[in-house]
Point group: C2
C-alpha cells in the first residue's frame, strides 16, 4: 500500500528522514539530546539512553555496565520495528544498514539459550526469571518479536526473525503449564500480542499456545506483589478472563487486552473475547478522555474509577493511547463495527499524535488536557506534566512506540473480513488487493475541509464482485454517497459502515461526502472535571486553546450560545484553525488585594478565540493550553 | 476569664470531659482506637501511639523499644498543654493527677543534661543533634516548653517548668553563634515561639536570644538537604528575614512566622517583622482557602504557588490552620488591625474546628473543600483525603494540637495593647481586667442568629477612663452600636475596630448589633478551582453541602440568581442550617452508554438545597461534601 495523503505522507517522510535517524542518535547517546526523567520519583534516573551501549557491553564489544531500566533493550527493538515498517514505504539503505548493525549486536548479545535482557545479564544474572512482577523479560522478548516480524516482512532478511524465535523458544522452554516449567508470566504484558504475530507469520502453534498460557496464568497467585506492584497495578487481581473493568497501569492493560483479543481470534476463546468486550465498554464509556487518552492518574500510570477524568493531574501516556489503538484494531478483527474505529481514530489523531512535536525530535510522555506552566513547575501534583516536549526520557518507551505506530499507519486504515473490504480511516492511498478471486487496484483520495470528501476508485481488470464498507465517522452528521456519480438514495448501512456491493468493472468511482461540522462536545454529567464545559472537535481532531493565540488565563474564557466558528487554513497540509467569538472575564481593580469577596459583578468582554488541533499543541514555546472550555 | 458561651462552653466541656481523657487513652494505647496513617507513603506506619510507652521505656520503667515517629513525644506534651489550659476553666483532679504522672515520666526519661527525645535516646543515640533537617529534637523541646508554660501558669506546679528550662538550656548549650557550639537549627520550627513564651514567663533573656539565633541561622547553608527535605520544604532557601512568600511545609512555615512575629515583638527587629508582613499578605491574599485552610498540596504538606487552591487534592492540615491562628494572633500584638482577626476567626471556626468530630473522639488531619468518597478510595491522588474522621493517626499531631488550642480559646478573644482593650472574637465571657490604673469587671454576652448581638457590660467600682475596641467583622455589612442604650451616631472606627473611649462608672453597657447575612462569596478569578462557583458564608462560618441532606453528585447542583436562603436552627447551640432554592442537572437516558456527545440539552430541575456549617461536616457517615458550589 502506498500512502498519498496530504497529512500522513508528511508524517511518514518525517519518520524516515528525521524521527528514526534522531532516535538512533538518542539510542547511541550522541551529543545534544536533552533527557528528562518522566517523574521525580523514577527509581532509575538516567541521563542518557545507553540502550545500544548496553547491547555492546552484553555482546562483549565494549566495557562498562548496564545503565537505565531493565527494559532499556526495547527502545532498540521498537526502533527496529519502526525501520521495518518504514522500509515498506521508502527504500532507505542507510537506515537498513543501521538496522542490520543493531541486529548483529542483538545476535552477539543474546545468550546461547536465546535469553536476552542486558540488565539481568550484566547486573543480576542470578535473578533471571525470578522477579517476574518487575523484570520485563518477556516484555523485551515481545518487542523483539514485533521488530522481527516487521523487519523480516519488509526486507525478507531472516536473521532477526531467527533471533526472535530463539528468544521466544527460550521463554517457551522455561514457562508453561507443564510441571517441570516455571509457572508465571511477565509483570508487563506485551509478549502476548507479539506471540500471536509470530504465530501468524510462522504458523507455529506453540507460539499461540504460549500466548494463551501467559494470559491464563495471570491472576492473584501469579506474582510476588510488593509495595508499588499491587494486584491491580499488574492486572492480576483476577484472571484476565474474569476482569470487568480497566484497572492498573494503562499501557499494560492495553497490551493485555490486545493480546487477549488477538489470541481469541485464533483460539475462539469466547470467555476471553467476552472480557475484551466488557472492558472495552468500561474504557470507552467511562474511563477515556476525549483525546483518546487513558490513565487518569500519574500514580501508577493508571486507571482510577468510572468518570474520573481530571484534565490536569491525569497521565494519558502516549504509549497508553497507542495501546488503545492496538486494542481497537484487534477488536475490529472480531467485529466490524465503527465504534472500534471511532475510538481508534480518536486516540490516533489526538493523544497519540500529540506525543510527538512537529519537528519529530521532541516527545510527550504525558498528554494533559489542560496545561498551566506555573502549575507544572510549582505544584508537585502536576510535576509529571511538562509544558513542552523533552527530546528524550530516562524511560523512553513513547518515542519509538510512536515511530513504529505511525510508520505502520496502513495497518489501521483498512481490513478485509468475511471476504469484504473495510475502510476504517480516511487516508489517501493506492494499493493492489486480492478480494476473493478478484484482483483489484484501489485508490483513495481525501480532501478534508468544511467536509470530508472521499474519492475511492476501483480498477478491475476483469469484472469482479466485491463488497466495500466505508466507515461512517461518529463525528459526521450526514453524508452523501455516489457510485460513478450517481447518488445512492437508500445506502445500505451496517454497524456504522456504508456497504457498497456490486460487480466492479474497469475503473469505477465511489465518492462520499461526509459533513464535518465544528462540534461542541459535552462530557457525561458524571465527569466532574468537565461540568459546564465543552470541547471542540472537527472531524477526527479535538481542538484546544493555546496561550500563543489567546493570551494566558485561559480559564477566564468562555463560549456563549451565540458562538459561531469560522475555519481558516494557514497551512493546507494541516487541519484548519478554528476561530470564534467568545467572552473573557475581566479581572478588574475590584479584586486588588482580595482573595475572597462578595457582590463582585463579573464583567465579560467579547473575545476572539482561536482553537488549534490538540495534536499540534506545544509547538510554539511554553504557554497555557486548554481542551475543555467553559460555556455560558 | 470565664467563658459563658452557647457555642464555646460546649467545646470546653467536651475537651475536659471527652477529648483529653480520650487522648490519654490513645497515648496509652488502650483498646478500640482505630489508628490511621495519614498517607500511604508514610515512612513509619504505626498501629498505635506508643507515646507514653516510649517515655516509660526511656525512663527505664518498661522494656521494649521506641515505636512511632521521632517526634512522638510531642503528642504527650501537647496533651499536657491542653490539660494546663483546661484547668484554667475547670478544676479537674483526675486530669491533673494524670498530668502529674506524665510529668514524672518526663522527668525520669530526661537525660542528666536535659536532653529528651525518646526516639534518639532509644534508637540512635549516636545521631543526637546530627540530623537536624529531620530530627525534630528542638521541635520536641518547644512543645515541652509550651506545655510547661501552660501547666505552670494554671497550677503553679513548677516541676515541668524546671524540666522545660533544663531541656531549653541543653539546646542553648549546644547551639548558638559561639565557635564552640553547633551552628544550626531544627528542621521543624516550633521552639522559636515557645522560647519567647519561656522568656516572657521567666524573664530570662537567654531564651529570647536563642529564639533569635535559631531564626537567624536558618538558610541555605543550614541543613544537609536530601530528597524530601528540600530547601523550600524546610523554609531554608533563604534566610527567614529575606523570604517573600509562603513556601514548603505549611505547619513549619506557620510556626516559623509565629516565632518571628513574637521574637520581633521583643527585639524590635524591623526586618523580621517586615518579612512577617510580606508573607502574611502572600498567604491571605493568594494562598489561603476560604476555610482558613493552607497547604495546597499533600506532597510535602506544602504551599504551592499563588492562586493554586485545588479543592480536592489539597492538604489543609488541621495543624496548619492552627498555626495560622497563632501567626494571626502574634501579628495582632504588633498591629491591632481587624484583618488579622478576620483570618484568625476564619481559620478557627472552619478548618481548625472541622478537625474534630462532634463526639470529640475523631479527627481529621486533612480538611478538603470537596470530598467524593469514591475518589478518596479509588484515586491515589486523593488517597490522603479521608471521607470520615479516623480516631487517631500514626502521625497524631493534629488531635492534641486542637485540644491545646480550643482549651485556650480565651487567648485569641481579646488583647490589651497600648493601654486599650481589644475584642477580636465574639464569645461570651466574664473577666476582671486591669486597664491602666483601673480595675474593671467585663461581661460579654453573645446572640448569633439573623445577626450578631453583642452585649458588653463594664462594671467599674470607681469611675475609670478606658478605651474598648470592638472588631467589625469582615463578614458584616453594617452595624449599630449603643452605649447605655444610646445609639452612637458617629462611631469612631480605627483599623477595623469600633473604638469606644470614655470614663466608665458603675455598670455601663455597650450593645452592638452586626448584621450577619448569608453571603455568596466568590474567589479571585485567578483561582481556577473556584471559577463559576460561590461559597456560602454566614458570620464566621463557611457552609457546605453534604450528601446526607442533598443526595449524591453534588457537582450537579447549582445556585441561580433567584436563590434565596432561609435559616433554620435544629439545635440552638449550633449555628443555623441554611436552606435555599437551587437547581439540579438531570442525568437522563440520553446519556445511556455515552461518554461524549453533542447537542444534549441540559435539563435542570428545581432543587431544595441544605447547607450546613463546614466545621460540622462528616458527622453523619460517609458521603459527598462540597464547599464551592456552581452558580448560574
Amino acid at each position: 500500500m502506498k500512502i498519498h495523503d496530504s497529512f500522513w505522507s508528511g508524517y511518514l517522510r518525517l519518520i524516515k528522514g528525521t524521527v528514526l535517524p534522531f532516535q538512533w542518535s538518542a539510542l547511541n547517546d550522541e551529543e545534544g539530546i536533552r533527557v528528562e526523567i518522566e517523574n521525580s520519583d523514577a527509581p532509575i534516573p538516567t541521563e542518557k539512553s545507553h540502550a545500544i551501549a548496553n547491547l555492546k557491553i552484553a555482546a562483549g564489544l565494549a566495557s562498562g555496565t548496564h545503565q537505565g531500566y531493565w527494559f532499556q533493550d526495547t527502545d532498540v527493538y521498537k526502533w527496529l520495528e519502526g525501520v521495518g515498517h518504514i522500509l515498506n514505504h521508502f527504500p532507505d539503505k542507510e537506515l537498513e544498514t543501521l538496522a542490520d548493525e543493531a541486529i548483529d549486536l542483538i545476535e552477539a548479545a543474546m545468550e546461547p539459550d536465546g535469553y536476552l535482557n542486558t540488565f539481568y545479564q550484566l547486573r543480576t544474572p542470578e535473578l533471571k526469571f525470578k522477579q517476574l512482577h518487575l523484570s520485563h523479560e518477556m516484555y523485551c522478548c515481545g518487542h523483539l518479536i514485533e521488530a522481527a516480524v516487521a523487519y523480516y516482512t519488509a526486507t525478507g532478511k531472516d536473521k532477526i526473525l531467527r533471533l526472535a524465535c530463539k528468544f521466544a523458544d527460550c521463554i517457551d522452554q522455561n514457562f508453561g503449564p507443564e510441571e517441570h516449567k516455571r509457572h508465571g508470566t511477565d509483570g508487563h504484558q506485551e509478549i502476548e500480542p507479539a506471540l500471536v504475530k509470530l504465530y501468524q507469520l510462522t504458523g507455529e502453534e506453540k507460539y499461540l499456545k504460549l500466548a494463551g498460557y501467559l494470559l491464563d496464568v495471570r491472576g492473584p497467585d501469579c506474582f510476588d506483589f510488593e509495595s508499588f506492584y499491587t494486584p491491580k497495578y499488574l492486572q492480576a487481581y483476577a484472571r484476565p478472563k474474569e476482569q470487568e473493568t480497566a484497572e492498573g497501569h494503562a499501557v499494560r492493560m492495553m497490551y493485555m487486552l490486545t493480546g487477549m483479543a488477538e489470541t481469541a481470534l485464533h483460539t475462539g476463546d469466547g470467555e476471553m473475547l467476552a472480557a475484551c468486550h466488557r472492558i472495552w465498554e468500561n474504557i470507552t464509556t467511562r474511563r477515556m478522555y476525549i483525546t483518546g487518552g487513558i490513565g487518569s492518574t500519574n500514580i501508577g500510570e493508571a486507571f482510577t474509577f468510572d468518570y474520573d477524568l481530571p484534565n490536569d493531574t491525569m497521565y494519558c501516556e502516549t504509549c497508553a493511547s497507542i495501546g488503545l489503538i492496538y486494542f481497537a484494531r484487534a477488536m475490529l478483527n472480531h467485529e466490524q463495527d465503527s465504534r472500534y474505529a471511532d475510538v481508534m481514530e480518536r486516540a490516533l489523531y489526538n493523544n497519540a499524535l500529540a506525543g510527538m512535536g512537529r519537528d519529530g525530535k521532541q516527545y510527550f510522555y504525558v498528554n494533559p488536557l489542560e496545561s498551566f506552566p506555573a502549575a507544572n513547575q510549582n505544584s508537585p501534583n502536576r510535576g509529571h506534566v511538562k509544558s513542552t516536549r523533552p527530546d528524550w526520557f530516562g524511560c523512553a518507551c513513547c518515542p519509538p512506540n510512536l515511530a513504529r505506530t505511525v510508520s505502520s499507519i496502513e495497518k489501521y486504515m483498512t481490513s478485509i473480513a468475511g471476504g469484504e473490504y473495510y475502510t476504517h480511516l480516511y487516508i489517501g492511498y493506492e494499493s493492489e488487493v486480492s478480494l476473493g478471486e478478484s484482483s483489484l487496484t484501489l485508490r483513495q483520495e481525501i480532501a478534508f475541509d468544511h467536509r470530508l470528501d472521499v474519492t475511492f476508485t476501483v480498477d478491475a481488470k476483469q469484472p469482479a464482485g466485491a463488497v466495500f464498507n466505508f466507515r461512517i465517522p461518529g463525528w459526521s452528521r450526514s453524508f452523501e454517497a455516489c457510485v460513478n456519480g450517481k447518488k445512492l438514495d437508500n445506502p445500505q448501512i451496517s454497524h456504522g459502515y456504508l456497504k457498497i456491493s456490486k460487480v466492479w468493472s474497469g475503473s469505477e468511482t465511489v465518492t462520499i461526502t461526509f459533513d464535518a461540522p465544528v462540534l461542541q462536545v459535552s462530557a457525561h454529567p458524571f465527569v466532574r472535571a468537565d461540568a459546564g464545559k465543552v470541547a471542540i472537535q472537527k472531524g477526527p481532531f479535538v481542538y484546544c486553546l493555546e496561550e500563543a493565540d489567546n493570551g494566558d488565563n485561559l480559564h477566564l474564557v468562555r463560549l456563549t450560545p451565540e458562538t459561531v466558528f469560522t475555519e481558516t487554513r494557514p497551512n493546507p497540509l494541516y487541519p484548519p484553525t478554528l476561530v470564534c467569538n467568545g467572552e473573557r472575564l475581566e479581572v478588574g481593580g475590584e479584586w486588588e488585594g482580595k482573595l475572597y469577596a462578595c457582590g463582585q459583578t463579573p464583567r465579560y468582554r467579547p473575545a476572539r478565540l482561536t482553537f488549534v488541533p490538540y495534536y499540534s499543541w506545544a509547538n510554539r514555546g511554553v504557554g497555557e493550553m486548554l481542551v475543555w472550555v467553559s460555556k455560558r
